[in-house]
Symmetry: C2
């Protein structure tokens, strides 16, 4: 008896007529008047369940099979045959349907065989992966993550796991979560009444990282091509549909590279990931297309067949000012682009992905490289039709004297950046990188509206698993 | 001009006589009396640097090339030729050596071209990747991580990013780090003087995860085969050479599986990862072999060519009691195995990897499945020659009534585990999984003595980058 996944069975991965064993959970059961039950069984390996045909000759037909409801676990043994029915190529003619676990009180089982609101499902985080939507998100997320690693590996990058607990705030920006083992009620205090952080676990104040970029730069300046792909944290905006307090970020960093090479890398990267998902997740994308957002597949197909347009920020402002469109926020040189501006540029003005380059220095981070004009930095945002900014990156300031001016200008403590300055003192080279939120990519791929639906466990107050 | 990595150039990946551009950092410089300098350049792509031959006819020879020291960054353009010298197959006959960055005060540059103690290098975490040892660790770590993902992907698993910030303690064990945004000096308090956690970011007390297992079980019971690979945290033992406060853990979980299948998975997994490293990191392993620990390569080769022995815990205790060896801790049924016991079993008694199975229930976690004997649980440890335990796993208790007894017996709050109980109420199936610390695997592969040398940034008090 060959144990096969539903994916393999449905794809005809074993010969017709083979005896197979399929294991999974019941999605639906339908009984014919002729005394045959059609049990759809899903194991997560692919979008569609497989139809198991159970005749009333089976010894447990009356006692068990006729009581199967959504969520019951079964092991089905039988013959893989071509299906007469519509919608599937193969089915299993069962010799045996072994029930491993029934559903306790089927009427109150949260995952009924009907459509649930995404809001409701966020409250049953531990069970929502049993729905079509979230098993599809899980497969797409996996395929996209594998593509991320494969892309970088094939291009000669090394994955670097930068610290999650850190003593430094990467950009002097972003609210951080404090990490501590001190007694919160009665923490040790200094004579002045302050907290005595020397007594904390690491001997100093510690936080959850907001970005691995600064740390990974040190690796780029020895290994040439590196990337991070790990969790990052922001203690802000926890209740929007676009922000997460905890999200996975991807941050490649390349040495001997300028902003143009950075943009080239971003273009190759996004196309590679989209292509992997298109190639491998067709049934899942079909579902998103039909039930979540029309056009998600076509959007990615167009994306990978487009060359990215590059526009200077200064030119972008001019384009926006001349646009016939009325914006909520008036475009103005020196201000950051709003999502409405970004979407106009990529969707209406160009109709393809756009890289906006060279932003005003005052609205960007201290580590970005000052351009020769003295008023812009070598920063870029990649804008995608349907979402706006999807990647942000920059060439880093590799000149020690200029970096020092920037640290001063931004009011940062130079002593916190001695190690970062070292990278410019010892064999400095031009280098660049970018960052993107992995969940934002998943939202884009699947056409989701709420970023909480792109993570395995939405940390919703009251959610059963938090 | 073709830009090539040192790895590609040394491997003859471009035809002899091709004009190439190599970018990297100087390791050493040697000048011949005949007016030729031999500059060894490394770019991190492979263990060995490439030799760049720079004749004094180059315009910047006197002014720059003769001043190159370890750590300087260069772009070298020239012809790739077969090397006359010993130790490398190819070298670059330079037409141009462009110096991008010198080293500020070479005499005090921490990474001198000599051997440093690992202890010293932990204090210059941001620069230590410029050494042979840590660039090799970075490559091995990358290759092993890629193999982890590839193994699971090829076997049909899905990567699940379980929450890092969590409200629950996975096992009722392990000191946790608290995560909070409350003001530490004057936190909001309840009328009773306790901390008012309702006012904290998530509306309740939150911690860094010690394991994703419980969360990923919910995914296994819908997707069949899943794994985590992410950071986990323990606020204990921070100053040993074997424990980290922050480390990356790998936790596969399989549905419709018992402890034997779990052990099979562990065996396939370890062999796959070791084979990938052996196939791809030969120059790095050669270095570890010669400079860090003799026998690391042979140890892995023997490992992948061995079948794992399986021994019942109860039998293992008998074997240990009969052993002629004198142990510091006397083996006794009901007590956990010490490293000395584990190493005796795998190194001396069997001479191969060993899976010890079915431990006394009292020394294991609440979620492990009670065996029919009522006094052992379906837990396993995989023991490897040279290190002892490398993987710990178990079949999970899938019977709700038995789980409830365990929760009570361990003094856990049933209300915290309602969602976990749901997994047994709705289509429960036998399932199993294991966990291993990724850094422990790296320590084993490379033959390191201190686990701090297996992570990109050792979080050493006083370290420049923390």
């Amino acid at each position: 008896m060959q144990v096969v996944s539903v994916k393999k069975a449905l794809a005809g991965g074993v010969e017709e007529g083979t005896k197979v064993e399929v294991r999974g959970w019941v999605r639906t059961r339908r009984d014919s008047k002729a005394g045959i039950s059609f049990v759809n069984v899903s194991d997560g390996s692919t979008f569609d369940p497989i139809q198991v045909v159970a005749p009333n000759a089976l010894p447990n037909y009356e006692k068990e099979i006729l009581h199967l409801t959504a969520g019951c676990s079964v092991i089905c043994r039988g013959t893989l045959v071509k299906s007469q029915g519509k919608g599937q190529a193969f089915e299993v003619q069962a010799d045996e349907v072994q029930v491993l676990g029934f559903v306790d009180d089927p009427d109150t089982y949260p995952i009924q065989p009907k459509q649930h609101t995404l809001e409701f499902l966020r409250d049953v985080a531990h069970l929502r992966v049993r729905t079509n939507t979230f098993s599809a998100v899980t497969r797409v997320r996996h395929r996209a993550a594998m593509a991320v690693h494969r892309f970088f590996d094939e291009e000669g990058f090394f994955w670097v796991n930068t610290p999650i607990i850190t003593a430094s705030d990467a950009e002097g920006a972003g609210q951080m979560f404090r990490v501590s083992t001190l007694d919160a009620v009665n923490p040790p205090r200094t004579p002045e009444g302050k907290i005595d952080w020397h007594k904390d676990f690491f001997g100093k104040e510690a936080y959850l990282t907001v970005s691995g970029q600064l740390n990974v730069e040190a690796y780029a300046l020895a290994m040439s091509k590196v990337y991070t792909f790990g969790p990052t944290f922001r203690a802000e905006n926890s209740n929007t549909t676009r922000h997460l307090a905890e999200f996975w970020m991807i941050e490649p960093e390349i040495a001997f590279a300028d902003l143009n090479e950075d943009a080239n890398l971003a273009e190759r990267f996004l196309k590679y990931v989209f292509k992997a998902v298109l190639d491998d997740c067709a049934p899942d994308l079909k579902f998103f297309e039909e039930r979540v957002q029309k056009g998600v597949t076509e959007r990615m197909e167009k994306f990978i067949n487009s060359s990215f347009e590059r526009i200077d920020y200064t030119d972008a402002i001019e384009i926006l000012k001349k646009a016939k469109k009325k914006f909520e926020y008036a475009p103005e040189w020196g201000k950051d682009l709003q999502t409405e501006h970004e979407r106009y540029l990529t969707e209406e003005h160009v109709g393809r992905p756009v890289v906006v380059m060279n932003y005003p220095e005052a609205i960007k981070s201290f580590y970005m490289r000052i351009n020769d004009d003295g008023r812009t930095v070598a920063a870029m945002d990649v804008l995608a039709p349907g979402i706006g900014e999807i990647i942000g990156g920059s060439q880093r300031e590799e000149r020690l004297d200029v970096l020092d001016q920037r640290i001063q200008k931004f009011g940062l403590k130079p002593e916190s950046y001695q190690w970062y300055r070292d990278l410019r003192r010892y064999g400095s080279v031009p280098h660049a990188g970018f960052g993107l939120g992995f969940e934002r990519l998943i939202v884009y791929i699947c056409g989701l509206q709420n970023i909480r639906d792109a993570i395995p466990y939405p940390r919703v107050p009251g959610s059963a698993a938090f």
